[in-house]
């Protein structure tokens, strides 16, 4: 699974370049996110602009990263396609994650939280 990542100040921006985060890629995604968190990253923006399909396994992998950071930092999400957003709403994860319309808005929000 291709995951583009870059560090801006103290924020790690992760952008999956695949269109799908599903059961065949969720384990790899979860492992990679776990490694970045273990390496000390505590402010993470997950940019889902390229992703047009997430299933419950993919969502579970994102939740896993969120739980791993816990109260020790922030994992926020940005640029979610409307169809994928329907999964966040259905599972009420839109009440768990802070979701922003753009990467800039997400970075601004984290700079306030930090």
């Amino acid at each position: 699974m291709q995951l583009k990542h870059k560090k801006t100040n103290d924020v790690l921006i992760v952008r999956p370049l695949e269109k799908r985060i599903d059961a065949s890629t969720a384990a790899e995604f979860k492992k990679k996110m776990g490694e970045w968190i273990d390496a000390g990253n505590r402010q993470i923006v997950l940019n889902l602009s390229e992703v047009d399909f997430i299933d419950s396994s993919g969502l579970g992998a994102i939740i896993s990263g969120f739980k791993k950071i816990g109260n020790d930092g922030n994992l926020v999400i940005c640029t979610v396609k409307e169809s994928v957003m329907s999964l966040f709403r259905l599972t009420r994860m839109n009440r768990v994650f802070d979701i922003y319309a753009s990467e800039t808005e997400a970075l601004d929000a984290l700079s306030v939280k930090a």
Binding site: R20, D22, S24, S56, G60, I63, N71, S83, S86, T91
Partner: protein
């Protein structure tokens, strides 16, 4: 009827998903509805591979797509271990408590929420999950 058959490997699930999305789009469904139909079928096929076949390749998962004037029906069939409904945990969590957030077990909830009918039966050694989506009837012209 369209019949899709894949070998029980997770990397094959997207092939079925893409076909379902294509069918939904051909029926002029909007992008969210197309995604949600794909999602339900993907959840069902993934459950078959994970739970009926325990991630072992070499088994078949069949998906029959049946279009009726008033509904679209998917039948997802396997010959593996039967699903035990008693083992399906109800979906729920406290959004304010991180430790309660679920990382798995959301598939059945998703299917039950998005489809109009969900049935599960075993016939002649074949487990069949039927998902039904009612189609919107066109409005009558004045």
């Amino acid at each position: 009827m369209i019949r899709l058959i894949i070998d029980s490997r997770l990397e094959n699930v997207s092939l079925v998903g893409g076909a379902v999305r294509g069918i939904a789009e051909t029926l002029s469904m909007d992008s969210t509805t197309s995604y949600q139909l794909e999602l339900c079928v993907v959840e069902a096929v993934t459950n078959d591979i994970k739970h009926a076949y325990h991630l072992q390749a070499g088994h078949s998962v069949e998906v029959d797509v049946l279009l009726y004037p008033d509904r679209l029906t998917f039948r997802i069939c396997d010959t593996g271990e039967r699903m035990n409904p008693a083992k399906v945990r109800p979906f729920g969590f406290d959004p304010s408590k991180v430790e309660t957030l679920p990382e798995r077990g959301m598939g059945v909830y998703i299917m039950n929420s998005l489809m109009d009918e969900v049935h599960y039966e075993t016939l002649g050694g074949q487990n069949i999950l039927t998902l039904v989506k009612y189609l919107n009837k066109p409005e009558k012209s004045a």
